[in-house]
Amino acid sequence: MSTFLYVFRELLGAIRARSALSFLLTGLLLFLFLAAVGTFFLIVPSNAAREGGSAAAPLEALHVGLSPRLSSASIDGLYLEIREREDVKRIEFRFAQELDPEATGGLFAIEPAAAIAADDLAELTLYLGSLNGVTDIVEVRASAEANASPLPLAARIGLLLVIVLAAAGSFWSARRGYRELLQTFAGEIRTMRLSGTAERTLFSLLMAFGVLVGLLAGLMLLVVLTLLHYVAAAQATPSAWIEGLRSGGRVFGVSLGNLFLGLLLGALVGLLGTSLIHSREFDPLP
């Protein structure tokens, strides 16, 4: 066994009930942090749900294509005729090149009256299609992405709060744990310093311990997500919000990402521990 592993084992052996509780709390809070971060990536609808949502998205406008052969007088006439309709809120002429550089001619961007019924919309479309010089009609709907997340705003704010509080709480409990652990290990630290152990060895020991806590939190989330994935995949009629959990690739990606995030947070926790060993109580000389 290498010197580092020997001392690391001794450091682990110096964990007592109080420091163990603090580090357990640190691990759980890191797990909570990672779970909240993971939720943002997992609670999103699948592609199928997104496509279905597209048709149901609210109508923003109708783009009515006009033949390039129409004279300006004819376009003016059509404009006035359409504007008079009750089911039209606003009409605007645009050059087709504004939307597509390859296109020619012009188009009317028509905003239907608010809360137009599906039948009325069909009637409006039919009417517009029957006009002379109209080449095509395109329904422009609100972006599906904007309404993609099934998480309400309050839930998203709640998750953000959980992330901030869990991070702060884990650092607080890690500091407590390290302080208690180092008090138990103070004699060993003094002996190591007295006998010429490099400071970087002490630094690496405490960093390694922090990384271990972060790694365990990340692994715990990986296990929980894998279990949830199998539960979600087994459901015949899953609700929309667990769609993300049914995708094995997405669960694996999120788990792996969170594992790295856990290691990073663990390193930060370790860094916090190393900041405590500069106290005078660990000086080898009185």
């Binding site: 010197t3 020997y6 001392v7 002996t191 006998s195 010429g196 490099a198 000389l285 009185p286």
Partner: protein, 221 residues
């Protein structure tokens, strides 16, 4: 005879500017057992800290085993520190058995388990602690704590032993026992410098050099 410690024009002040050591000159030969005697706050512990490379020097020259402490790189300074056995004043052992105290130090210095055990047993035999090897170090008497401190200092075959106040809190017969222990150790370990408040125990042999430190300066050799 080769020189183990050579100190010249050594000055040192505390953080608040009080002069603790002033123009200290000291020479200890290889194989010598010398006593550094001085009142409390005379700078003995600081001098030992400087010699043991635990305190960075401010002004002056310190040569230990031919190496200039002032100019050594951090890595070489650690290498030198590993060759110096140091027993600080009022050292408290680690909360583990006597033998495990030694094993911990030896393992952290890179000794293999068998090698560490062998060295630990040897050090315990030299200091007369072999029977207490399984005892919790915190339960040891004051005298045995000094013995353990000495065992810790000698266990990895150091070139130099620096021992600070080994007689503190001991009765006269125990002080004589520590003197006997130092004499025994001295036969196997070449150079020992012992700092003490004095007066020296009766068992100290008259042929050992006694250096007096007063108000931060060497006043008598």
């Amino acid at each position: 005879m080769a020189v183990m410690i050579q100190v010249s024009e050594l000055h040192h002040s505390s953080e608040d500017g009080i002069k603790v050591l002033e123009d200290v000159h000291l020479r200890v030969e290889q194989g010598e057992l010398a006593y550094l005697v001085g009142q409390a706050s005379s700078g003995k512990s600081l001098l030992l800290g400087l010699l043991g490379t635990h305190v960075p020097p401010q002004r002056g020259q310190i040569l230990v085993h031919g190496r200039n402490v002032v100019r050594l790189s951090p890595t070489r300074l650690l290498d030198l520190r590993r060759r110096i056995g140091f027993l600080p004043q009022g050292a408290v052992p680690m909360p583990r058995t006597v033998q495990d105290n030694l094993m911990f130090k030896l393992r952290t210095l890179g000794n293999y388990p068998e090698q560490a055990e062998e060295k630990a047993i040897l050090a315990l035999e030299s200091t007369g602690l072999i029977r207490q090897q399984g005892t919790d170090a915190l339960e040891l008497s004051s005298l045995d704590r000094v013995r353990l401190g000495v065992a810790l200092a000698i266990c990895d075959d150091p070139l130099l032993l620096l021992i600070d106040e080994p007689f503190e809190g001991l009765d006269p017969s125990e002080r004589d026992e520590v003197c006997d222990l130092l004499e025994r150790i001295h036969t196997g370990h070449p150079t020992i410098l012992v700092a003490t408040r004095g007066p020296l125990p009766e068992a100290v042999r008259s042929d050992h050099r006694v250096v007096t430190l007063s108000d931060g300066a060497v006043t008598g050799i």
